[in-house]
């Protein structure tokens, strides 16, 4: 258990114990000290617990394990272990170019002011689709919008391998086009092998690392 989770559990325990006192002896709230205690245990502590709980849940929802806990996402999780560096997601995951415990979130959140909030709303829709409708098969799942180069450039822009890469500099107009999102990083002939869940039956897997 992490330290914030332990603190939250302790706060919940403290709140429940103090609320139980108010429940058994509500007359204690008649005095000035009792009124302050009632405010603390019936308003302040629950707000604090709720805020810490939401923060903890939101943090947890960024984890790779959280995303892959839906069966529909399992094949996408398997692609992270494909033993072939041409698979973009696998190469990033296995070489820790993205944090392994937040692999999905790192590439699939929008690096904009409300990107996280927008993705959470989409996540709520995914929960609805998963539990209340028939989710599409994994190979039919598509991104809402074409993958924006901004998500790649968040890390790669300014990196020597990106700026001085031979292919990236083969055409003087290519780098400006990539930066302007006019030429997609995942377009055909470039980094176009990403998850490709349809090929899982024909690939080898790397099970090393943590």
């Amino acid at each position: 258990m992490t330290a914030p989770a332990a603190i939250l559990y302790l706060l919940i325990l403290l709140s429940v114990s103090l609320i139980a006192v108010v429940f058994v002896r509500p007359s204690v709230t008649v005095t000035r000290g009792g009124k302050i205690m009632a405010f603390l245990v019936l308003f302040f502590l629950p707000v604090l617990c709720a805020w810490m709980g939401i923060s903890s849940e939101l943090d947890r929802s960024k984890s790779t394990a959280f995303c892959l806990s839906c069966h529909t996402m399992e094949p996408f999780g398997k692609t992270l272990h494909i033993d072939d560096p041409s698979y973009l997601a696998a190469a990033h995951f296995q070489n820790h170019r993205v944090p392994a415990d937040e692999a999905c979130y790192t590439c699939h959140t929008n690096y904009t002011m409300f990107g996280t909030a927008k993705d959470k709303m989409r996540g709520l829709r995914h929960v609805y689709v998963y539990y209340f409708t028939t989710p599409p098969p994994p190979e039919k799942i598509k991104l809402y919008d074409p993958f924006n180069n901004r998500e790649c450039l968040h890390c790669h822009e300014g990196a020597r391998s990106f700026e001085q890469g031979a292919v990236h500099n083969s055409d003087p107009e290519l780098l400006p086009a990539i930066r302007a999102n006019k030429k997609s990083c995942v377009s055909s002939g470039c980094h176009d092998v990403v998850h490709n869940v349809g090929t899982l039956a024909n690939v080898k897997f790397w099970n090393g690392g943590s």
Binding site: A5, L8, Y9, I12, S15, V16, I19, A20, V22, F23, V24, P26, S27, T29, A38, V41, L42, F43, P46, V47, C49, A50, G53, I54, S56, E57, R60, S61, A65, F66, S69, C70, G123, L124, H126, V127, Y130, Y131
Partner: protein
């Protein structure tokens, strides 16, 4: 355990029960990992906590009738 006859104290007791239930739901959801836990936390736990706190705040501003 009986509820108090005094309306303000009874409100505090009901509010306390709602908040305790909300906190217990929150504790369960923290231990239960998965997307549905987040939904239960927000929809059930959040609603119970909100109802409990709202009842407490209403009891603060409500004026008992002269009979009480």
């Amino acid at each position: 355990m009986n509820l108090s006859a005094h309306p303000v104290e009874r409100s505090l007791q009901i509010s306390g029960v709602l908040i305790i239930l909300g906190l217990l739901v929150e504790a369960l959801c923290l231990a239960w990992r998965g997307p549905l836990a987040f939904m239960v936390f927000l929809c059930v736990g959040g609603l119970l906590l909100f109802a409990g706190m709202a009842l407490y705040l209403i009891s603060l501003v409500s004026v008992p009738s002269p009979k009480n």
